[in-house]
């Protein structure tokens, strides 16, 4: 049996349900010699802002038990350079590329979406309304349902393909934010972005990150992310892209069984650039083991 791994996110057909996450796969060219990019479900590129950003001061990374904190600060080349320098390579790839858009104001999100609209090689847009790592990094849009709905509604007409809203887990009620994104017209929600954390170097008595707070990712957060997906799957009808600490096919299956239609691999790509392909292979073996012909039959199956 060769199980069917294909899924659909809005109008987008994905051959496999395993994406690579924004900020953890660069603009994909960095991986082109290391990984068979054609085996990925889709590539979500590093967050794009209107102007280039040099990012936060170092140190930007601190390891914690089974996790890592980052405060990169949305370092990126800006939307114009993205279109001029990065998109030509991305366009050559045989898999869908999703542009992740971030900003400080609603107008900035709109402007970036507008510049990307209709460009060949952009299959969809993910709105990052949940970055914990910059002042005004959009996290306020991710913690307030009304703001989440408004920003989605405003970007919606500017995005021809699927519009995905990426949710912050740093809220009391993530289901409410997901419902707001759905009402605003999102085709899908992706979750989770990183959890707000901090670590202190006790020998120097100073925070380990220049910004004090950073985003926690990696296996440590997996149980929290699975819970978020479970909650959101009970609240919205649009598909969910689940992520947070996925390293193996079984980890990915947890998210699918909790209600995600697709999954995304972030930090694990730092441990192994081909991690997303290993996750895909693991999912395939899991389906064979479970004697399950199609991944779609497993979406939400643990909720029964």
């Amino acid at each position: 049996m060769t199980p069917d791994l294909s899924v659909r996110i809005g109008s987008l057909d994905l051959a496999t349900p395993v994406l690579v996450s924004s900020g953890t796969f660069g603009y994909a060219s960095e991986f082109s010699e290391l990984v068979d990019l054609g085996g990925l479900g889709a590539i979500v590129v590093k967050s794009i802002t209107l102007a280039p950003r040099e990012g936060n001061k170092p140190p930007r990374i601190a390891e914690t038990p089974a996790g890592m904190l980052n405060s990169i600060g949305l370092q990126n080349v800006g939307v114009d350079a993205f279109i001029a320098e990065k998109l030509p390579f991305l366009r050559t790839l045989p898999v869908p590329v999703i542009a992740n858009v971030a900003g400080t104001t609603m107008e900035e999100y709109e402007a970036v979406c507008g510049k990307l609209a209709g460009r060949e090689g952009i299959a969809g847009v993910e709105l990052n309304i949940s970055c914990p790592n910059v002042r005004h990094g959009g996290m306020e849009f991710g913690t307030n349902p009304a703001a989440a709905e408004e920003i989605t509604r405003r970007c919606r007409p500017l995005v021809p393909g699927p519009l995905i809203v990426k949710l912050s887990p740093n809220v009391t009620d993530i289901a409410a934010i997901a419902r707001a994104a759905e009402s605003g017209g999102a085709d899908a929600v992706s979750l989770v972005n990183t959890f707000l954390g901090a670590a202190i170097n006790v020998e120097t008595r100073t925070p380990r990150l220049s910004t004090v707070f950073g985003g926690l990712s990696g296996p440590a957060i997996r149980p929290l992310a699975v819970r978020c997906v479970w909650q959101v799957a009970g609240a919205v009808k649009i598909p969910i892209i689940g992520m947070g600490g996925i390293v193996t096919g079984e980890d990915a299956a947890e998210f699918i069984l909790a209600g995600a239609t697709a999954v995304s691999v972030g930090t694990a790509s730092f441990l192994d650039p081909a991690a997303a392909l290993a996750v895909t292979a693991g999912l395939r073996q899991y389906l064979v083991r479970q004697n399950c012909p199609s991944l779609r039959d497993l979406i939400g199956a643990a909720r029964a």
Binding site: G55, R60, A66, P219, F270, P273
Partner: protein
């Protein structure tokens, strides 16, 4: 596809040096060993656990016959576990990666290599490579450490005296000069410095000191940074570079543009302020 990006490799030996907090690890690395250049790093994990999670970088200290050597100091989670592993145990290794010391271009009249602490690890490898490739007429290797026991590979360095000048410094004067490796370097530099090329590796305070010795001194330094990915993607390992006049902060990735940089390109004031 090019060679697999990460692979399980086996430990060949894992022996303490004169100070047992420092160990020399030999790895059976196959083809990866042939490509290694001095100044590059290998990126290492322990298989089968998520704690420690991220890979850790170590400078290549030697390569040949399918083997790679690193020297490591026991400082935390991974290096402590590493110290307990025996020959035959498996590691997950990625690399060698990064840009090492310059291995083409003009021949130097005098290459002075200066290493502090475990920073000396890549320099004997570099000295041998410079000699093989005839990149310097004269090669000096200066090694500094806190104590005589922590001087890396002292006897091995001294055994190469037919072609390698050596100098040693210890903080406590227990071997060589009492002082730092920069003191040794400055003494060597009091000769007219034309044709001198400095290659250094060590703690950032040492490298920052090197930058202050002489404005135009050609010096390449291997720097450190906290790495997420080790392949230029995460932007985690960045070092502040001297910005354009009035321009915004500029960063370069230790894992990608480095680890070896022109000492004068790095913004040492910003490095110090950030306690890197």
């Amino acid at each position: 596809m090019t060679p697999p990006p990460s692979r399980i490799v086996k430990i060949v030996s894992n022996e303490p040096l004169t100070d047992p907090e420092f160990r020399e690890l030999q790895i059976d690395a196959g083809a990866a060993a042939a490509d290694a250049k001095p100044g590059q790093f290998v990126h290492v994990r322990l298989p089968g656990t998520l704690d420690p999670l991220l890979r850790r970088p170590f400078s290549v200290a030697g390569a040949g016959d399918g083997r790679l050597t690193i020297v490591y100091k026991r400082v935390g989670a991974l290096t402590s576990r590493l110290a307990s592993l025996r020959p035959g145990a498996e590691l997950d290794m990625f690399g060698p990666r990064g840009h090492g010391y310059r291995l083409e271009g003009p021949k130097a009249a005098h290459a002075i290599l200066a290493g502090g602490g475990y920073g000396a690890a890549p320099l004997l490898f570099l000295a041998r490579t410079l000699r093989e490739r005839a990149l310097a007429s004269r090669i000096t290797l200066l090694v500094g450490a806190r104590t005589a026991a922590q001087l890396l590979w002292r006897e091995r360095v001294e055994a190469e005296s037919s072609w390698l000048d050596a100098g040693f410094a210890t903080d406590d004067g227990s071997y060589g000069e009492k002082g730092t490796v920069l003191d040794l370097l400055m003494a060597r530099l009091s000769d007219p410095a034309a044709g001198v090329r400095v290659c250094a590796c060590g703690p950032s305070a040492m490298l920052a000191g090197l930058a202050r010795i002489r404005p135009g001194l050609p010096a390449e330094v291997a720097a450190e940074g906290h790495m997420g990915c080790g392949m230029g993607v995460c932007q985690g390992c960045v070092l502040p570079m001297v910005p354009a006049a009035g321009g915004p902060a500029r960063y370069a990735r230790v894992c990608h543009e480095g680890p070896v940089f022109d000492v004068h390109a790095i913004d040492w004031a910003a490095v110090k302020a950030a306690r890197l």
